[in-house]
Symmetry: C2
Subunit: 137 residues, 2 copies
Amino acid sequence: MTEIERFLEDKKVRPTAMRILVYKYMAKRQISVALSDIENAFTKAERTTLYRTLKTFEENGIVHQIDDGTGITKYALCEIGCNCEIEQDLHLHFHCNNCQETVCLTAHKIPHINLPEGYLAKDVNLVVKGLCKNCSN
Amino acid sequence: MTEIERFLEDKKVRPTAMRILVYKYMAKRQISVALSDIENAFTKAERTTLYRTLKTFEENGIVHQIDDGTGITKYALCEIGCNCEIEQDLHLHFHCNNCQETVCLTAHKIPHINLPEGYLAKDVNLVVKGLCKNCSN
DNA sequence: TAATAAATGCACTTCCCTTGCATTAAATAA
DNA sequence: TTATTTAATGCAAGGGAAGTGCATTTATTA
Ligand SMILES: [Mn+2]
Ligand SMILES: [Mn+2]
Ligand SMILES: [Zn+2]
Ligand SMILES: [Zn+2]
């Protein structure tokens, strides 16, 4: 049993062939991925299976979803200490207008947001757009 | 010539009947609206016309778009001092999980966001979700 | 091995956004 | 005013991504 298989079982996710491939793919790329990215990476992949794979991953705290404002849902592997399950995912995301890639800036927590009287915050989504470090030169 | 007609002409938008109605509708409701909201408000309205009306409004600095993460584009009238045209729209938006309404918190500016070396910010989207003042009791 | 449960593949649906194009209305030129 | 040009509207269709139903395959458990 490989390390990835052990990891998935730890997360109560059965390590099927496809799931292992998807996990490996996401681990190799360090940026967030869209469903279509994975679909294109494997010629013999069924979109629905991938969709449900990501859904299962998300439900079991392996990935978290990112809404970067492009209209396309992105997914990123949760890092150690990612608490997107127990509470809101408080790190910010950066979307590059040039290379179109979205990254988790896990080290950059979202600052406290002041709200008017009576408003109760449960979740915060913060997306910064601009040029990433590869494209800003 | 009414005040609204003068306002629209000021913004280089021809004050057609439909445009005036849409503007009035948005002014009456203080929360942001979806295309379908307007569509439902007027029985005799064509979705495409409304779509293009909002697009024209946006291009001329009358409304700004809001991506509140619901997957449905919302629009809100720009207030005096709204600088969504010349630079990024820096105020935050609040989406209520209960009544599903999204409001501009124009008085609440987005705090400065620290980014890692090499990242260049051009735009920021901040959406807080939770319970609005009407629903938090 | 048999029974059960889970994962996958395929087809289809839904939802919203967007566009093409003919028609109608308005603005401008003659 | 009338003719010409330009803009707005209405209807139909297209596109993309998310999501579902169900039969089939694969894996697990009895
Ligand atoms: Mn993230
Ligand atoms: Mn706003
Ligand atoms: Zn980039
Ligand atoms: Zn509410």
